[in-house]
């Protein structure tokens, strides 16, 4: 009698071979899977070996952490205080001494709390807006885009701008406020018919009047002129103003360029092609070197304001083309569907087309923002000191001059820029993942 061996239980799974799991498996699969991979891996490792130890050595191992002037970063043979033969790395005390200047520029010391408040309010109101789960988005956005810019302007400049135009300006403002009040009251009294268009005009007038009064009010704060601003403050002011203002202008231009109205299309095309056709440096130069010659003698615009306008228009042209790319990716059916529902042009754009188009071009938009952020360094050539300009200006200080000073300064500037740009990039990826609706690969 032959007894067949029948297995009644499955044998336990065997562990996968060592070459397929854990670190070894990962390395085999991702780094050494073919000869080409092996070569690339070795090459990459060699490049890392060339760069990383040097940077670490300079920035950390050999760095000098405490000191009171440039002599602490200089060898004794060179007239300094560091032992001869000791390698000298980054001169961090120099960054420490100059840190507040890198942040605020030459903003007066006793007034810097105003910058702090402006930055603090900005961060506190921006973060909830960036986190999708926090409610009150609309109110938050209205505050951030409608109120905050004026709050910052008043805080940073000290307010008290404009009433210098005399009693007439003031009178005009009062009249606008009065008329606006009458228009809004009119509805309840019903004495005259007030059209909704008129109401919008009155609302805009009242808003302008309030802004004008708010900017012109003397808050008793010291008047800090923009040439005193500098460092990260200028970088952020230029970048954020450019980003926030260029986005809506860019959308309008993109819609204009795809419009079927010939004048709107022509104007948009001319605008976009003009601003894309000139380098940003030229724009800045024109605004700072040529513009003063065209104006009557003694009449001058604030230099920072000129730069802000130039940067905004310039990046709006690029933004328009990015957005247009998104619009072109939306199929005709979406437009037709929206029209079939009886939506107006703006409803169609706001509810159907733009939400899809903008989502598609998030990488392009953020790319433009990052580019703009880094382009702010160009303002140095018109005599404004952004972060990099402030760092470079500090190299000339004889007190802190040492062979390592400029290297340290550039390293610091690079780190700050990287943190901001990397932050933007990560947030854009987060938004892409959040908004993907079946388009994802």
């Amino acid at each position: 009698m032959v007894q067949n061996y029948v297995r009644t239980k499955m044998s336990p799974d065997m562990a996968p071979p060592a070459t397929e799991t854990g670190i070894i498996g990962w390395v085999m699969k991702n780094l050494l899977s073919s000869w080409l991979s092996v070569v690339l891996t070795v090459f990459g490792a060699y490049v890392i070996y060339l760069i990383v130890p040097g940077v670490v050595e300079f920035a950390i191992v050999n760095a000098i952490w405490v000191g009171k002037d440039g002599l602490d970063c200089r060898s004794i043979a060179d007239g300094g205080r560091v032992q001869d033969g000791q390698a000298i790395g980054a001169c961090w005390p120099y960054v420490q001494a100059y840190f507040s200047q890198f942040i605020y520029g030459r903003y007066p010391l006793e007034e810097r709390w105003r910058v702090d408040i402006a930055m603090f309010v900005g961060v506190v109101s921006l973060i909830p807006l960036l986190i999708p789960t926090i409610p009150y988005k609309r109110e938050n956005a209205i505050f951030l885009l409608g109120v905050y810019p004026f709050l910052v302007t008043i805080l940073l400049t000290g307010g008290n701008i404009g009433i210098g135009n005399g009693a007439w300006g003031f009178l005009a403002i009062l009249m606008v406020l009065g008329v606006g009040f009458v228009v809004f009251q009119a509805k309840t009294t019903q004495s005259i018919q007030i059209s909704s268009g008129l109401k919008i005009v009155a609302a805009i007038g009242v808003a302008i009047a309030i802004v004008y009064l708010a900017l012109g009010f003397d808050y008793g704060m010291l008047d800090v002129e923009t040439p005193l601003w500098g460092g990260l403050l200028v970088t952020l002011v230029v970048a954020i103003t450019g980003i926030v203002a260029s986005f809506p202008i860019g959308i309008i231009l993109a819609l204009g360029r795809r419009s079927e109205m010939p004048v709107a299309r022509l104007v948009s095309v001319i605008f976009i092609e003009f601003w894309r056709g000139v380098p940003l440096i030229t724009v800045l130069f024109m605004s700072s070197v040529m513009l003063p010659l065209f104006l009557p003698e003694g009449v001058q615009f604030d230099k920072l304001l000129r730069v802000l306008i130039g940067v905004t228009l310039f990046s709006a042209a690029y933004m328009a083309e990015t957005v247009r790319g998104g619009l072109q990716a939306i199929s005709r059916g979406q437009y037709e569907g929206a029209m079939a529902l009886g939506l107006s042009f703006w409803q169609m754009m706001g509810l159907i087309i733009l939400p899809q188009a903008l989502k598609l071009v998030i990488p392009g938009i953020v790319n433009a923002f990052i580019g703009l952020f880094k382009d702010t360094t160009l303002v140095l050539i018109v005599g404004l000191f952004d972060l990099l300009g402030q760092v470079q200006a500090s190299f000339t200080d004889p007190v802190w001059s040492s062979p390592a000073t400029s290297h340290t300064g550039y390293l610091f500037a690079a780190m700050v820029f990287w943190v901001f740009c990397f932050g933007m990039s990560r947030y854009s990826i987060f938004m892409e993942n959040l908004l993907h609706r079946g388009h994802k690969r």
Partner: protein, 337 residues
């Protein structure tokens, strides 16, 4: 009606960025209460902000001295850092009152650009720096050398002229930025580093081992640096010119910020300078104690020189041609009488 009002409000809102000016610079300055001074974006010893953002330097002292003459307060100055390219536009457009930014006095600038140079506060000239171990003691021994310099500046042209004149061969290695030039020189990519002599001393601080380098004695170009004002405003021009002269005169007469009070009772010349006698300040359109304020608050030329670029500073520049005419230099000021 409402639309009209709106446009008025709009116009007023736009108008706040613009401001108007009048004819005389001195009157304007007095009215606004400060001197707007165009300076460099940072040049050691000449105009340079420190870690707290305070400006100092030889060029800055000229602006402070003018403010002292006008207001009796050397702090009533606002500084506008300017790049080399935009400095003249800033002056021409009235954005600044004085340009004190290591600017060389040349015929073109004095005439065609509509500017007036109000004197010379530093006589500069292009020089050479070499490594000591090269064993060179004169620029005439530099045959076959490689020369590091900035692109597109007069220094490059001066080098070409000088080497051709002396029938020497050379090779130019030019860079865009001053920082790159000195790094290349320090890394041994060239034998010679050339720029204005004052710049040589300032850049030397960035070398790995400054003591191994020497500045050769030859100066191959004339670079008289001084404050600049707009042409056609003689009153302001006179004031800036005599501010510079007053500092030089004060040095020559031995008047310093320390002894200026006792000098008020000194020689007749001292009394004239310090406004005890005569009406020299009134004629300039400022108070008679103008020069007293300059010396008291800023110091005489020697004090300014030694404080900013002199032998005791990191730059360590000797007086050389910038010594008084009576001490072998060429700093000379007409008398106040």
């Amino acid at each position: 009606m409402k639309y009209k009002l709106l446009s008025v409000a709009l116009g007023a809102a736009i108008g706040f960025t613009a401001s108007a000016a009048t004819a005389g610079t001195l009157d304007d300055v007095k009215k606004k209460g400060f001197v707007q001074c165009g300076v460099s974006q940072g040049l050691s010893g000449f105009s340079n902000p420190d870690a707290k953002g305070n400006w100092s330097g030889l060029d800055v002292d000229v602006c402070r001295a003018v403010a002292a003459a006008v207001f009796g307060d050397d702090k009533k100055v606002k500084y506008t850092p300017l790049s080399a390219k935009e400095r003249f536009t800033a002056l021409q457009s009235g954005e600044i009152d004085i340009l004190s930014r290591n600017t060389t006095w040349t015929a073109t600038r004095d005439t065609a650009l509509g500017l007036n140079f109000a004197g010379v506060n530093y006589y500069d000239g292009q020089g050479f720096m070499v490594r000591k171990d090269l064993g060179v003691s004169s620029a005439l021994e530099l045959n076959g050398a490689s020369v590091c310099t900035n692109t597109g500046t007069t220094t490059e042209l001066n080098v070409a002229d000088y080497f051709r004149e002396n029938k020497m061969k050379y090779e130019v290695i030019a860079f865009e930025k001053a920082d790159e030039v000195i790094q290349a020189y320090d890394a041994g990519r060239c034998d010679v580093f050339t720029t204005d002599a004052s710049g040589l001393y300032a850049q030397r601080l960035k070398l790995q081992d400054a003591s191994k380098h020497i500045v050769l004695p030859e100066i191959i170009s004339k670079e008289p640096l001084g404050p600049v004002v707009r042409q056609g405003d003689d009153q302001w021009f006179n004031l800036v010119k005599w501010t510079v002269f007053a500092m030089v005169n004060a040095e020559e007469m031995g008047v310093t910020s320390a002894n200026v009070d006792s000098k008020k009772a000194g020689s007749p010349a001292d009394k004239r300078l310090l406004g005890v006698e005569g009406n020299f300040g009134k004629n300039l359109g400022v108070g008679n104690d103008w020069a007293y304020n300059i010396v008291k608050l800023v110091g005489n030329y020697a004090e300014s020189f030694n404080r900013n670029v002199g032998p005791d500073t990191p730059l360590g520049i000797a007086r050389g041609v910038n010594a008084l005419w009576s001490k072998g230099g060429i700093q000379y000021a007409p008398p106040i009488r």
